[in-house]
Amino acid sequence: METQTQVYQRVTVMTVTGRVDSTSAGDLETALKKLVEEGKSHLVLDLSGVEFLSSSGLRVLVTTLKAVRKSGGDLRLAALSQRASDAIDLAGLDVLFKTYEDREAAVASF
């Protein structure tokens, strides 16, 4: 798994690529926690390059969502790969996240 972060004026976009399972979920959690601790609470995750997303990875998404909502922000998902979308639906977590066709739309939504 790899992550790449772009910081805009009001929104921070993190692009996640590769496999997110219990071997890599910790790295994703650390990267997202760092953003939240820096006070970045308007987050967009670009999931277009996600090849595999297990419940361990989904757990990180939910804990980050809780953290940013607490500080009045949100975590929104953009450009979901079919695999990421299926994983989120199968876990019944689609109701928790706002999702957008592409990252531009997600950034503009804030």
Partner: protein, 154 residues
């Protein structure tokens, strides 16, 4: 005069294929487990989306064994796959304490207030697979996951 039993036709012989894989009970095994399930799903003639759903389900079951069964103790996990035309059965065999995931209650609804994210893996397994059975044989857990329909989404 004795007559030999006629051999089964080639198509019949090709129809079912079995494979097995033994992995250490730690998370570094997960990518290999996915590759194993992908090959077995291919042999069953499943499309890419169904194959991925099966990989998710089997990996969730294996992760459960690693995290809640072995809990950091050393152990191995045996996978046995049987691929037929349009069907796939994967057995996950481990030596961890008895745990029957078919009896574990799972709430399909998720809310941020009480998101029991821990139970999500079991929900994923149940939503993907068409048949799930569990057996405790001696000191082994045997979880049998079967897919015989194309996955088209939840």
């Amino acid at each position: 005069m004795r007559t030999a039993k006629p051999p089964s036709p080639p198509s019949e012989r090709r129809r079912v294929r079995t494979r097995r894989l033994t992995v250490p009970g730690d998370t570094t095994s997960l990518a290999g487990v996915c590759a194993f399930v992908e090959a077995a799903a291919d042999a069953g003639g499943f499309d890419e989306r169904t194959s991925h759903a099966c990989q998710l389900a089997v990996c969730e079951a294996v992760e459960n064994v690693i995290q809640h069964g072995y809990r950091g103790e050393r152990g191995t996990i045996l996978l046995r796959a049987r691929s037929g035309s349009g069907s796939l059965t994967v057995e996950i065999v481990d030596d961890a304490p008895a745990f029957d995931p078919t009896r574990y209650p799972v709430d399909p609804r998720a809310s941020l207030r009480d998101a029991r994210v821990g139970g999500r893996g079991l929900l994923m397994i149940r939503r993907v697979m068409d048949d799930i059975s569990y057996e405790r044989r001696g000191r082994q857990n045997i979880l049998r996951l079967t897919k015989n329909r194309v996955f088209t989404g939840v």
